[in-house]
Amino acid sequence: MAGIEVTALHKRYPDGTVAVEHVDLSIRDGELFVMLGPSGCGKTTTLRAIAGLERQTTGDIRIGDTLVNDLPPAERDIAMVFQFYALYPHLKTRDNLAFPLRAEGLPKSEVQERVDEAARLMRLGPLLDRRPHRLSGGEQQRVALARALVRRPRAFLMDEPLTNLDAELRADMRTEIKHLQGELGTTMVYVTHDQVEAMSLGHRIAILNKGRVEQIGTPLEVYDRPASLFCAAFIGSPPMNLIEVEVADGKLRSQGGLTLAPPPGLPRDRRLVAGVRPEALEVTEQGAERSVAARVVSAEWLGDEIIYVVDHGGQREVRVRMPPTVRFAADAPVGLRHTGGPPPVYDVSTEELVA
């Protein structure tokens, strides 16, 4: 087991595409580290560079204490699970699992032992004598995971391993992966573009955008204080409300008159945007205390909660998360009130967190 250190990674493909602009990551030993970002932001490329399948243009990669820049994938002692599982189609499950071990030249009895153990962990018993095309997507996924496990590598790399599964199975597998990683304590780098997956799995999350790291933090940090407008818009469903504010009398005021508690250290003379989570707002009766006038545009009934979309004084489409017991009709005049603590505030021009 080992940590992974990525320093100033830059990758330019021969055709001129810059897939990774500049990435620094410091992944701790035993950590479940998630790389999250939209399609094309360079997640796969970064992962493949760590695996040694792609040579970075510049930058260093260390696994444990070893500088692996010039090591071939085989010598890096890591296992990777691909988005499409890449099970060898001409081999039975059993042989798919045994293959990496045979490559290492382990004695037969030990191969058998390890295959059985991995099969038990991933509950593959009845599938051992089938070929991949006779397995369902979820089963193939489990075989792919088991194949990564048998080698007991220093780290796991997972490239969107659950994308091809249906929602229910995905949730199950998510739990399973998290449990497994905790059990084995092996470092895992998990790539996804699904923020729910990232939040529920990761010890820490790195948010990537256009080949750069926008933020690294625990799920809570990332959720509470997104480091940039990009992160603010990317994390959370529905996403954060980005409300233009001014500093007046030591308070933050929106155009529509909504007042927010100001964070310390606000800069002056800049256009600012406050990031307000839907659950930090409240729809009230019209004219309630500290509320501003607003109008319900629409309501999404999700069963356990209602997402109200309201307009208030020039600010359109503010989303508010309310318990299902509080009901307002569409188009109803209502009040809007901020209930949370000081929100993160961003500079409009740099798009970065300023306070």
Binding site: Y13, P14, D15, R48, A51, G52, L53, P72, P73, A74, R76, I78, A79, M80, F82, F84, Y85, A86, L87, Y88, P89, H90, F99, P100, A103, E104, R131, P132, H133, L135, G137, Q140, R151, N164
Partner: protein
């Protein structure tokens, strides 16, 4: 080459057309179509039929006027003559067939051994000016081979490859390599590179990964490609007649052609030799059809 490929491919669709046309048109139209197709088939197949008949007729029946369609005595003498010389021992024709087997087999093997790894490299790696290189490779097949036969002849005379099996093998391989690269590149593109990635992470080198994982998946494609190359080498006539002269080197196509042109032509022998010559091509064309229809089935691909 081109002719045999066209034939092998064209049989499929032509046969399928009748039922769908029947659905479209009325009954009259379908009758007309069947009649036309039958006429066409008879016209096309008659020479073949006649060749088969001639090969089993006795010589006097071959020249009989009016021609005998059914009431002739069947003999296998011509087939015997193809393989056995009149005085006993091996005939010149059978030696030519052996030469053909050798030349076609070795040149195909050579083209496959060279072309498959090249196709893999073009598919997997970023090569400088890849498109231009591939176009250049293909462009060697643009011109009809007969255009270069004189220069090749002169070059071969310089290096002493005239009238040698090696010379034929080399020139056929040279014509088959571009074809193999192009056809195989399509097959390699179909095999996801993740198999090799996974194998490399599992501890194999890139070459081992290719050898142990990609190659087995390519086998049907290689078989289909090799059969096409084989048919080209087997049928090739122009280079064979220009570059070889002695019986010991000559392949079957010029040898069979050489049967015609004496004072008397033993048509029975010509027909029998042609039949023997056509048989492997027919079998292989059939195999290719099967491979192309079945396609390459790859197991666990979910994208």
């Amino acid at each position: 080459m081109a002719v045999s490929v066209d034939e092998a491919v064209a049989t499929g669709p032509a046969r399928d057309r009748t039922p769908s046309a029947r659905r479209l048109g009325g009954r009259g139209r379908s009758v007309l179509e069947v009649v036309l197709l039958t006429v066409l088939a008879v016209v096309m197949l008659f020479p073949v039929l006649w060749m088969i008949e001639t090969s089993i007729k006795e010589n006097r029946d071959v020249y009989a006027i009016p021609a005998k369609f059914f009431n002739f005595t069947v003999t296998m003498d011509h087939f015997k003559d193809v393989f056995v010389a009149p005085g006993g021992g091996r005939s010149a024709l059978s030696a030519a067939f052996l030469n053909s087997v050798l030349v076609a087999g070795v040149s195909t093997a050579l083209a496959t051994v060279l072309g498959v790894p090249a196709a893999w490299a073009y598919s997997r790696f970023s090569v400088k000016a890849k498109k231009d290189q591939l176009f250049f490779i293909l462009s060697t097949r643009f011109m009809p081979p007969v255009v270069v036969v004189i220069p090749i002849f002169l070059m071969y005379r310089q290096v002493g490859l005239i009238d040698s099996k090696l010379g034929l093998i080399l020139i056929y391989a040279a014509f088959n390599v571009p074809f193999t690269i192009w056809m195989m590149k399509g097959f390699v593109d179909e095999v996801p590179s993740e198999y090799e990635d996974a194998a490399m992470l599992d501890g194999y080198t890139r070459l081992q990964a290719f050898w142990r994982f990609t190659l087995p998946l390519l086998l049907p494609g290689i078989a289909a490609t090799a059969v096409f190359a084989l048919i080209f080498s087997w049928n090739e006539f122009v280079f064979a007649i220009f570059l070889t002269s002695s019986d010991g080197v000559r392949t079957a196509p010029p040898a069979i052609a050489g049967l015609i042109g004496g004072t008397t032509v033993d048509w029975g022998l010509v027909a029998a030799a042609s039949l023997v010559f056509a048989l492997p091509v027919l079998i292989f064309a059939y195999l290719v059809r099967k491979h192309l229809v079945a396609g390459v089935t790859l197991g666990a691909v979910r994208r």
